[in-house]
Each structure stands twice: as structure tokens, then as C-alpha cells.
């Protein structure tokens, strides 16, 4: 079950959209933590150790999504959190880079809310399976 999700995006509009998607599809009781750039996301991850999933925008001021992925990699706890990269049409190169930096999956704007929901579900299922395999 998705308990806590970190949304990293510099657009307030996108944060509100994710709230709506979550309210529509996710089970009750999922919390969203909001960050507006990569640096803030890293800081917030220190405060919210129980984040299950990160939705990460690529194109942000101060610290972009790719830089965030690079900086989180050496930390085993942070690196174990699943990340869905949200990129924009025509930015395939960024998407490839993000995947090579350890992102779990990606989705391209404009996306269908239901599709995002399916991706979230799939990752969480996979995550649980992995935990079982290790445990």
C-alpha cells in the first residue's frame, strides 16, 4: 500500500494535479510530501524516512531531477526508494539519462491520470515482491 509519496516539481499546478489523481485512485490515508526542487526533496527525505515513492520532474530550477538522482544514488536508503520520472514530450534524452541514473520508471507529459495510477500500482507490487525475495 502507498503510505507516503514525495512529489518533486517546481509547478504548483502539477502538485495539485497529483493530489487529485491520488484522491481519485489511491487508497485512503496516503500522504503526499511536496518539494519544489531537487535540493528541497533531498532535505525532506531526511525528515520523511517512510516515503514509498517519488514522482520526480526533470526540468526544475536550483537542482534538476537528474542532479537529484545522481546525489541520492550513493545513499543506500535513498537509492532504494522507487522513483517515477515525469518528463515532457520530446525529451527522450533526459528520460534515458534518468533511467540510467536509477529511476524505476517514467511517464511523459501530457499523461492520462489512469496511466500514472497503473504505473504507481505496478511499482508498488514489484517493490513488495522484491522485499519478499530478499526476506
Amino acid at each position: 500500500m502507498l503510505r507516503k509519496m514525495l512529489v518533486v516539481d517546481d509547478s504548483l499546478l502539477l502538485h495539485k494535479m497529483y493530489d487529485l489523481v491520488l484522491r481519485r485512485y489511491a487508497t485512503q490515508g496516503t500522504a503526499i510530501v511536496h518539494a519544489y526542487d531537487g535540493a528541497e526533496a533531498l532535505k525532506l527525505l531526511g525528515l520523511h524516512a517512510d516515503v514509498d515513492l517519488i514522482l520526480l520532474d526533470v526540468n526544475m530550477p536550483t537542482m534538476d531531477g537528474l542532479e537529484f538522482l545522481r546525489l541520492r544514488r550513493p545513499d543506500p536508503v535513498l537509492a532504494s526508494i522507487a522513483v517515477i520520472v515525469v518528463s515532457t514530450e520530446g525529451k527522450d534524452h533526459d528520460t534515458q539519462l534518468a533511467m540510467s541514473e536509477g529511476a524505476s520508471d517514467y511517464i511523459t507529459k501530457p499523461f492520462d491520470p489512469a496511466r500514472l495510477h497503473h504505473k504507481i500500482e505496478a511499482i508498488l507490487r514489484k517493490g513488495v515482491g522484491e522485499l519478499r525475495a530478499h526476506g
Binding site: L13, V21, N59, T88, K109, F111, D112
Partner: protein, 494 residues
């Protein structure tokens, strides 16, 4: 609209956020255009990022047109390379296009106000209603006599709180002038480009607040003034140099709160100043009557006199200077000119910081709605058929103090031929005079701005002006003093 019904409710948010992004983009472009030192790889990258986010958000909302226009603009910018003048112009035009598309998509606009104005207005109306209900309650308490003293004190405290909420809610409509200054900057940029003049635009005091509903009027008037300053005020570089001035002209815009209730926006240029003789000659050519050739104000605002019209296309935009000055005056503002021939001109626009609202009660007669200033309403009571006395064609109704003469609103404005046998009596009371206004039914109580009637309509006794209520309906606001003094004629001539 959007292909995701889920996001439909975010339309206002989309417009507000995108408008801010467009403003950021526009400001950056204007800076880059004016100062080569601002044309850095970093600012170009920022610009590209803003366009990219704008594109993505438009896509999410399902605005394909905005998405593809933003895409074109983004593609025109190359990371790490400074912008050329052509690119800057192309991008500025694109900003205009996207703004226009968004304006068509929604009623929200490029202000700093993140709450829809209609929502604030609705709260103001509800507050007005509760204050009316409160005053009714106060009258009841008063009738109870001395025993009700604690109740009266409690009401007094509540009334103070309501008044404070009312004042603070009105203050929510105050919006900083920054976006307006940005649009002036843009005018100066565009006009100076087409005039081939180099002009520096310096703005201060953009944080000064002004009622949202006054921004449009201020923007019209100030737009004319800066356009005039660029086209007529600032001299061509060679003339400036010959006069011992720097080749580049400057236009300074500043705003201050010039009192608790008023703001003052100054537009100052270091150009040639206004030549009264040129204006007089133009008026003469057009055959316009000049009341006082020495009065610069009356000359400048002469309807039909636009020296711009003869020389450039720009003057055709929007309403003329004379009309926008009239609009400013109607709202209780004024414009002062400080003219120094050869040195420049300063225009000072004074506007009330907030629109003064009049609390009115809507009343209906023969299907027409009117607004009555509430300050003149003493009581509202239904009248039964048996209560009406008709004496020589004039109506009256029995009251404790004697007969209250009635004025049938429909007869007053020619929508009915005889006194209605039943309805509601609105007792108007001003300065000891009382009279009943007979209407079909009373309506809501609300705060609104009453604008004086256009002189073109002639003077209509009994009408204070027009007022715009929700849904943009225009109603006539009644003048209680004129209605109290109106002869109670047997039949209206109309």
C-alpha cells in the same frame, strides 16, 4: 478544453500560474533587449525552462494550441547561446499569443490575486446582508427597552467585528501594480523599437496596491501617457545630443500611496515637454473648439484631438486619452501635469486605492430592477390592498405618524399607468422628509459602485447613475433625494 475532466477544476490555477510564468518570461526578454549584459547563458536557460514548464502544463490541461505555441518558442531558444534581437521579438510575440489564448480560455487574468474576484465579491455581499439583518435586530433590541442593555452591548461588539471583516475582505481585492508596470514596460519597448529610439524604462513602487477593479482604468490611462511619451515626448537621438541630453531617453514610472485612501502613479520623461502651440494648431486644423488656450489640461484631453492619430498607428488602440481621463474622473480620480518645455513632462495619476462602494437594496417594479441606496431606506413593509388610500390619483398609506405619501416606482418611470393596488412600501427618509416608494417586491442587499450617468443620456431626475451587479447586469441606481422632492403628480406625462 482539457482532455482530463479530473483537472477541470484546476483551470484557474493553470491560468494564474501560467500568467506568472509569462510575466517572468516577458520581463527577462525586455531586460535582455535593453541590457546586453543580461543576455547570458544562464538567463537564456532559465527562459527555456519556463517555456518548457508552460508547455508541459498546457499539455496536461489539454490546451493543445498553447502547448504547441510554447513548443515553438522553446525550440527557438538554444541553450548556452545569447538571444538575437529577432529571437527576442519572436518570443515576445509568442508571449502575446499565449496570453490571448489563455484569456479566451477563462475569465481569470494576469494579476497577483490568487482568489477569484467573484468569490471575494460574494463574501462582501453576504457580509452586507448580515449587517442589514443585524440592524434589524438592533431595532428590535431597542424596542425592548432598558432590560435589553446587555443584548445591545453584545450586538455592538458583533457589529464592530462585522465591520472589521467587511473592511478586511475589501482589502483582499488590493493587488500590487507590478503586472501593470510590466505592461507599461512592454509598451515602451515595442513603441521605442518602432520609433527607432533608445529609451530606458525605470519603475519603482510596483508593490503599491490598488483595487483589482481599478487596474483596467489605470492601465488604459497610463498606457496612453507612456505611448505619448515615447512617440512625442522623447526626442530623436540627434536632437537630444544637440540639446545637451544623453542620446538615450528615460521614462520613470513610480507609485506611492499618497494617503490612506489614495495612490499616485507618476510617469516622468526627460523629453521635449508638451508644446501648447502644437496642440492648439492641431485643434485648429481639426476645427475643435478650445475653451481656454492657456489650459494645458483641457487641451490635452480635448475629445477628438489626438496628434498621434496623424502620425502613427498606435493611437488607434483602445479608447482615446480623453475617454480614459473621463473614466478616471468618474471613479473619483484625477490627472495632474507638470510640464517643463524642453526638459520633459510628468503626469501624475491619482486614484482611490479602493472603489467606494454604496450599499444598495434591489427593488423590482413591472419586471424592472432598480437599486436604492440603503442609507435612505428607513423601513420595508408589505402593503395589503385594503391599506392603500388613493386621493386625487396619488397614493398614501396609513402609518402611526399619519398618512405616508406614496410614489409608485412604475409610474415614475412610465412602466405602469396607475398605482399598483398591492406591493411593498420602501420608506425613504432623508433629512426629516419621508415618502413611501411603492414597488412589486424588494430584492437582495449588496455593495456596488454607482457610476454617474453619461452626460449623453441627459439629466434624468430620480436617477443617481448606473450600477453593475453580478452577472454584469446594469441597473439604474435611484436618487432618493430627487425622489423625495419629486412632485406627486396625478399621472406621469410619459
Amino acid at each position: 478544453m482539457g482532455n482530463n475532466p479530473l483537472f477541470g477544476e484546476l483551470l484557474d490555477e493553470f491560468v494564474i500560474e501560467s500568467s506568472r510564468r509569462l510575466e517572468t518570461i516577458e520581463q527577462a526578454l525586455l531586460e535582455i533587449g535593453e541590457r546586453p549584459s543580461a543576455n547570458t547563458a544562464e538567463s537564456v536557460a532559465d527562459l527555456r525552462r519556463e517555456l518548457h514548464t508552460l508547455k508541459g502544463n498546457a499539455g496536461m490541461m489539454g490546451f493543445r494550441g498553447i502547448q504547441s505555441r510554447a513548443h515553438e518558442l522553446e525550440e527557438c531558444v538554444v541553450d548556452g547561446q545569447p538571444l538575437t534581437a529577432e529571437q527576442t521579438s519572436f518570443l515576445l510575440r509568442g508571449v502575446d499569443d499565449i496570453r490571448a489564448s489563455m484569456h479566451g480560455a477563462t475569465t481569470a487574468d494576469r494579476s497577483g490575486l490568487t482568489v477569484p474576484v467573484a468569490a471575494v465579491d460574494a463574501i462582501v455581499e453576504l457580509l452586507a446582508d448580515s449587517m442589514i439583518l443585524g440592524s434589524r435586530l438592533a431595532r428590535q433590541i431597542e424596542m425592548l427597552g432598558d432590560d435589553a442593555e446587555p443584548m445591545a452591548l453584545a450586538w455592538e461588539a458583533l457589529e464592530k467585528t462585522l465591520t472589521a471583516i467587511h473592511r478586511r475582505t475589501l482589502a483582499l481585492r488590493l493587488v500590487p501594480l507590478n503586472p501593470l508596470f510590466a505592461s507599461l514596460h512592454r509598451i515602451v519597448h515595442d513603441e521605442s523599437l518602432s520609433e527607432g529610439k533608445e529609451i530606458h524604462f525605470i519603475a519603482t513602487g510596483g508593490e503599491t496596491p490598488l483595487d483589482k477593479s481599478l487596474h483596467h482604468v489605470a492601465a488604459e490611462a497610463l498606457g496612453h501617457i507612456v505611448r505619448n511619451a515615447v512617440i512625442h515626448g522623447i526626442e530623436p537621438a540627434e536632437i537630444r545630443l544637440a540639446r545637451g541630453k544623453p542620446a538615450a531617453g528615460s521614462i520613470r514610472v513610480s507609485a506611492v500611496s499618497s494617503g490612506a485612501e489614495e495612490i499616485c502613479v507618476t510617469i516622468e520623461d526627460d523629453g521635449a515637454g508638451i508644446d501648447r502651440h502644437l496642440l492648439l494648431a492641431a485643434a485648429e486644423r481639426k476645427g475643435l473648439a478650445v475653451s481656454d488656450p492657456n489650459d494645458l489640461d483641457s487641451l490635452l484631453y480635448l475629445p477628438g484631438l489626438s496628434t498621434l492619430e496623424e502620425t502613427t498607428l498606435s493611437a488607434g488602440r483602445g479608447i482615446g486619452l480623453s475617454a480614459s481621463v473621463t473614466a478616471v474622473r468618474r471613479l473619483g480620480g484625477r490627472i495632474e501635469i507638470d510640464n517643463r518645455l524642453g526638459e520633459g513632462a510628468a503626469f501624475r495619476l491619482f486614484l482611490p486605492m479602493q472603489l467606494s462602494m454604496v450599499r444598495v437594496m434591489l427593488v423590482e417594479a413591472d419586471g424592472e430592477q432598480y437599486a436604492v441606496p440603503l442609507s435612505a431606506v428607513a423601513t420595508v413593509a408589505r402593503m395589503a390592498k385594503t391599506e392603500l388610500h388613493v386621493i386625487n390619483g396619488s397614493g398614501a398609506i396609513g402609518r402611526r405618524r399619519g398618512l405616508l405619501p406614496l410614489l409608485d416606482l412604475g409610474m415614475t418611470f412610465g412602466t405602469s399607468a396607475a398605482i399598483r393596488p398591492q406591493g411593498t412600501v420602501i420608506t425613504l427618509a432623508v433629512g426629516g422628509k419621508r415618502r413611501g416608494l411603492l414597488v412589486d417586491r424588494p430584492g437582495a442587499v449588496l455593495d456596488c459602485v454607482v457610476k454617474p450617468l453619461d452626460p449623453i443620456c441627459g439629466s434624468t431626475t430620480g436617477i443617481l447613475g448606473t450600477t453593475i451587479v453580478s452577472e454584469g447586469r446594469v441597473l439604474l441606481a435611484l436618487d432618493p433625494i430627487a425622489l423625495l422632492e419629486r412632485p406627486l403628480s396625478v399621472r406621469t406625462a410619459a
